[in-house]
Symmetry: C2
Subunit: 419 residues, 2 copies
């Protein structure tokens, strides 16, 4: 059954805070930065009083900051009290799903102007507690007692994928190299440096300290070095894993009919999809995410598009294997061919199917509840040709975002059009 929204929705503003580690800043501070950045992007100007409701994606301010009930605080700190403020939680897909709720809310006729946000403040906790907190996004009754944490889950997917399709750890390294190449050109990225820059800086540091200089022939040798790029959960090494991050993003959604009064060039939402799945331990196949496939199919069907129509996509590369699988689940490449596409450079920003021009979660950072909304900020920039040096080689009039929660128990996919 083909589903249709009651009326069209457009994005007319998109902004984000820097992603990184910001001691002393709470999510409310980061959200104010994202909100201000979003307002600056509304080219015909925004009176914040026009905003009628807020949907805030957040994974676990409860565990990360000891603060629950986060949505009304975001309303307060942006001056939007007493607007209805609703927090959406679907693990790392929280703000992708919040976006979907914002779209649905406008389509319902109840609101014309909605603020969608994503927030997460992860770096106050020690790394081991962050890992434990993230693990609560899996099945704590059946999976955590088996000793799994997230690098382990995705390592299991990676080994299953390698076994079935013949990919190697180098296939995944190509994804990390590419995403750092893009992120190096993103001034808001947490790790805005190419792998070569990281390598050169390590060599320079050793030199400066009079230590023996490492002798890496090239980035791939660096990537294989157990000290430079340690194994986290084989085959996932450090540069296969997204970092622990603080950050926020904000999107302004309006009904299609008033979009032009906010922006000369709105980004129309032409497809939305969301699906759930069982926990990883219960799945038949570890080499694909069913929720992502279904969410993608829903979005394509609503948009009346095919995977080949998409000009650029931000996909959920919490680990490099996740990006490879995403490009297959979304139909960009056939099952088992995503790793070859990555190796061949097809997903680089000058390739036919640019993926994660922002640097992706890997290089830009992964403040989990903010990542889905952050993806849309990049598509907004690519669609408007304002992505600077990391602008895709071809025009991005059609873009897609793919936001995954946990091991794929949630996925939200959205398709956007600049007309």
């Amino acid at each position: 059954m083909k589903k249709k929204l009651g009326r069209g929705v457009a994005i007319v503003g998109a902004g984000m805070s820097n992603f990184g580690a910001f001691p002393g800043k709470a999510t409310r501070d980061l959200f104010v930065e994202a909100f201000s950045d979003m307002i600056a992007s509304v080219d015909k100007g925004l009176d914040p009083n026009d905003i009628e409701a807020l949907y805030i994606g957040n994974y676990s301010s409860d565990l990360f900051e000891g603060q629950g009930h986060t949505a009304p605080f975001m309303a307060d700190w942006t001056g939007l009290t007493p607007r209805p403020a609703t927090r959406i939680e679907d693990a790392c897909a929280s703000s992708g799903v919040a976006l979907r709720q914002g779209i649905i809310a406008i389509a319902s006729g109840l609101y014309d102007v909605v603020l969608v946000g994503g927030i997460e403040k992860m770096t106050d906790l020690p790394t081991s507690e962050v890992t434990d907190t993230l693990a609560t996004a899996s099945d704590v009754l059946y999976e955590i007692p088996a000793g799994f944490t997230f690098p382990g889950f995705y390592a299991a997917m990676a080994t299953a994928y390698m076994d079935r399709y013949g990919a190697t750890p180098e296939s995944f390294m190509r994804v990390g190299l590419k995403n750092h190449e893009n992120g190096a050109l993103n001034e808001k990225a947490q790790y805005g440096a190419t792998i070569r820059q990281v390598m050169d800086s390590k060599i320079a540091k050793a030199k400066a300290k009079g230590r023996p200089e490492p002798t890496w022939a090239d980035e791939m040798e660096f990537m294989h070095d157990d000290r430079a790029n340690p194994i986290i959960a084989w085959p996932m090494r450090l540069f296969d894993c997204s970092p622990i991050s603080d950050g926020a993003a904000a999107l302004l959604l309006v009904s299609e009919d008033i979009a032009k009064s906010f922006s000369a060039d709105p980004l129309f939402v032409i497809g939305t999809g969301q699906a759930s799945d069982v926990a990883l331990h219960d799945r038949q196949d570890l080499t694909t995410l069913r929720a992502a496939k279904l969410a993608g199919e829903q979005a394509y069907e609503m948009a009346g598009l095919k995977p080949e129509d998409i000009k650029a996509a931000e996909v959920h590369d919490c680990f490099t294997i996740a990006e490879v699988i995403a490009t297959e689940d979304l139909g960009f490449f056939p099952p088992g061919k995503g790793y070859e596409a990555a190796e061949e450079g097809l997903t680089r920003r000058n390739g036919p199917k640019p993926i994660n021009t922002s640097g992706g979660l890997k290089s830009k950072g992964h403040p989990v509840g903010a990542s889905g909304a952050g993806q849309v900020v990049e598509i907004w920039k690519q669609a408007h040709g304002s992505a600077g040096e990391r602008q895709a080689a071809h025009d991005v009039n059609l873009g897609l975002t793919h936001n995954v929660g946990g091991t794929g128990q949630t996925c939200a996919v959205h398709i956007f059009e600049r007309r």
Copy 2:
């Protein structure tokens, strides 16, 4: 500006688990119980495959159970994977707000059949940790360092109210007495006993153990006894505070046009309202909740009704003072007159404005994320004349629910009609 939903929505099924303390049961178990109870209430039958999406209200499975990403688990355990499953968090208003999202989602045209749930599992933690977890629903940066916990917040409201309007601690005790009177007739209530029954049982226990028997002349003397009814945060005593509870509730929402194919007697949603507010420390007035007033006004306006039209209401009596304030914020009684109405018995189930016929959060229990959806279960029963001995004296064709998050930083109000 009067807001209108794109299309009408009706509730065609409503169920709940028992509320109480259930060691060994996780939220997923409780939700399955609520789901089964809901299915049994759909008089023309339900094929669960017709359900297209889930909205799950939950405050903090993260802190209570160490489990985040709860929504897809609820889909899995009710056999509804891969439907989109979204968790809504607005503290104790989580499932009232989840209900609103379910309504909006159907109004948008995207879905015709939506499951709205509420879940919370609080009793695994020691009481002090439950108190700390609930405190995360207030402002942890500005309020918790001042030593506040929730009984303290509501005690501050109670003293401000007493100071302004001349109410006494006895005024609030009347609310507790009345709610236990109702809850004693609710087979799913956590504390399903009248205060007199509690009193008599304490006397009987003393007798059985050969201890000196307490000599309480009546319930009011019992309520004033510092050992029987200890002060938690003056003037709030034990029987002014809702308990720590486990529980779940489930509601089936469908678009108005198909409602009759599920139920001979659907409960139509004719009004919805939601608002946010600043944290308590930032407010001018502690004797009213602005978010509740605004949410109520929105719901009345949408329904085209006035407070006097409402035949019965379930309001958020997390503390007895909260019920008094709620009955004023909703316009049932003028400001400062709610306590007199309680004293005069106007809110008893045989009175002109029955409030919390279910027993309210006080007696029925307060599994925080489930409470808002649980309120609707009671209105469903009252509207259908199926509330048994606690059925209101007059016909309840129009009912209202009022669900508050934290100290009132969120409020959701809904109005229902049996036609």
